[in-house]
């Protein structure tokens, strides 16, 4: 049994705000829910499945389900950090395939920018996390743990800071066309290398933005999708995985996408060579490079060569990626970038991306994410989506 063709993404909405100090997190969740349902042509009363992750206020999905006053028969608050929403699409498709719901709403929202929560801030110590007695004193912040991966990748494969910088350069070429993007200036490799070193070898411009905002998706059963007026975006394949320190057998050169990616391609019956557009989670430039390798767009260790010289830029590169500007330039709401990865893939498949970055005849896309901390414990989720 496969989820291929068992569910469709009928609604997608990205909140235009990038700073929302005067709104509650629940309010932002509600606003993106309205946006996605309106986009689909559905109403609150059509929703019978609800999905959210740790950014939702309150206990699991319960507080938001109550706030929105949803009448539900399926709930899921799987939390893979920023990759959660890609997994939610897959879980929604599974639930729909099993007849457990018809219309699944997935929401993400947060205000880390207003609250001053960034990837360089010390993460709050979770006293009962089993790793905390061993790691908390060292202040393993988000950017530090990604920097450890970048350093090791450079050591083993000769990856260079210039190659990583090309990922940011490509994102900036796309963001110039997005009026909502936080960073719309096109930057050069030299600009990235000249920006301050945050956690050696990562520079400030190797890091994603910190933004308020959110997004939502509506996943529906095929009969409902065909009754709506939106283009048909089919869920074709999905994979998810987790990777930690493996009992001390640490290897920082690959991510859990090494498992989630091939699983998603296999379920969809396609290969990376077939993909027209890729949404690649871009918390940091190294995150993108490692996922491209792990999904099989190039051999392990060849990611630096793959991304260099503008090869991720829509219109000229071999693999257009993150055409909204991604987390590196556009938006990384709630410090969780998986939702916006799905939304831009849906735009591309519908032909609704900005004309300057729209991929011609975009009928097959991949969206993939890494949540948590790449250098210690993280989750990965991958979706293959197609237009009918």
């Amino acid at each position: 049994m496969s989820i291929n063709g068992r569910a469709y993404i009928a609604g997608a909405y990205e909140h235009p705000t990038r700073k929302a100090p005067d709104k509650s997190v629940a309010q932002l969740h509600a606003e993106v829910a309205v946006g996605a349902l309106t986009d689909a042509g559905l109403t609150k009363d059509d929703v019978d499945g609800y999905f959210c992750a740790g950014d939702a206020p309150g206990l699991g999905p319960l507080a938001m389900a109550d706030y929105l006053n949803l009448d539900l028969r399926h709930l899921d608050s799987t939390d893979l950090g920023g990759a959660s929403y890609l997994a939610h699409v897959a879980h929604a498709a599974q639930a729909i395939a099993m007849g457990h719901c018809n219309v699944a709403l997935i929401t993400l929202a947060g205000r880390p920018r207003s609250a001053g929560h960034s990837g360089t801030a010390a993460r709050p110590v979770i006293a009962d996390a089993p790793d905390s007695p061993w790691e908390a004193p060292f202040g393993p912040t988000t950017v530090n743990l990604y920097a450890l991966c970048a350093r090791r990748h450079m050591h083993e494969f000769g990856t260079t800071p210039e190659q990583l910088a090309w990922i940011k350069v490509a994102a900036s070429h796309h963001a110039q066309h997005n009026p909502h993007a936080m960073l719309r200036d096109v930057v050069s490799v030299d600009d990235v290398l000249a920006s301050p070193v945050i956690a050696d070898p990562l520079h400030r411009l190797d890091c994603c933005v910190v933004s308020d905002g959110g997004g939502a998706l509506v996943v529906v059963r095929p009969e409902i999708a065909r009754s709506l007026k939106r283009p048909l975006v089919r869920v074709m394949g999905a994979g998810e995985a987790a990777k930690g320190q493996r009992g001390g057998e640490v290897d920082l050169t690959w991510s859990a996408a090494r498992r989630s990616g091939p699983a998603a391609f296999a379920e969809a019956g396609v290969t990376p060579a077939d993909i027209k557009y890729a949404s690649i989670y871009d918390s940091f430039t190294i995150t993108v490079l490692m996922q491209l390798e792990d999904l099989g767009f190039c051999e392990k260790g060849q990611g630096g060569r793959f991304v260099a010289d503008g090869n991720l830029i829509a219109g000229s590169g071999r693999l257009p990626f993150n055409t909204d500007g991604g987390g590196l330039c556009n938006n990384h709401p709630a410090n969780r970038g998986g939702m916006t990865k799905v939304i831009e893939a849906v735009r591309q498949l519908r032909g609704e991306a900005h004309p300057a970055v729209q991929v011609g005849n975009c009928d097959l896309a991949v969206a993939t994410g890494i949540g948590g901390l790449l250098g210690s414990r993280h989750g990965a989720a991958t979706l293959v989506l197609g237009r009918e």
Partner: protein, 135 residues
């Protein structure tokens, strides 16, 4: 040149746990313990009551405190600067730690390092590493 100094007495306190109590007690006496599986014989990090390879029962043993740098990042913007690292222990496991008492420009993957116990703000032992003598 960025100097990474000792942070003895300055590290944030680690949370306490029944699974770390014996490690902490030994560390206060200067002994560095790690845990090895009584069933499959493999050592692991971070220490836990059940083996991460076979879920067998595990026991403490004293480790050499010798290792090599697996990866590191210098956080030069912090005051004072510090260096987060993974160190591959001679016994096999790779542990998240910090490098102290070194020059940032002299650090390298593969470099030999030696364990040094520093103390947290409340005097809890914090296992760090410094360049090995002659390394």
């Amino acid at each position: 040149m960025v100097r990474i100094d000792s942070r003895d007495g300055l590290w944030p306190d680690p949370p306490e746990s029944p699974e770390s109590a014996a490690f902490v007690a030994a560390a206060r006496e200067g002994r560095f313990l790690l845990r090895r599986c009584l069933a499959c014989g493999k050592a692991h990090w971070y220490p836990r009551a059940r083996c991460p390879f076979c879920l067998g029962e595990t026991g403490w043993e004293e480790a050499s405190g010798r290792g090599t740098v697996y990866s590191y990042t210098v956080l030069a913007r912090e005051a004072p600067p510090r260096a987060l690292a993974y160190v591959a222990l001679e016994e096999g496991p790779i542990m998240l730690t910090s490098l102290v008492s070194c020059d940032a420009s002299s650090l390298a993957i593969g470099q030999a390092v030696t364990l040094v116990f520093e103390r947290s703000q409340n005097g809890m032992p914090v296992p760090c590493f410094r360049p090995a003598a002659g390394g």
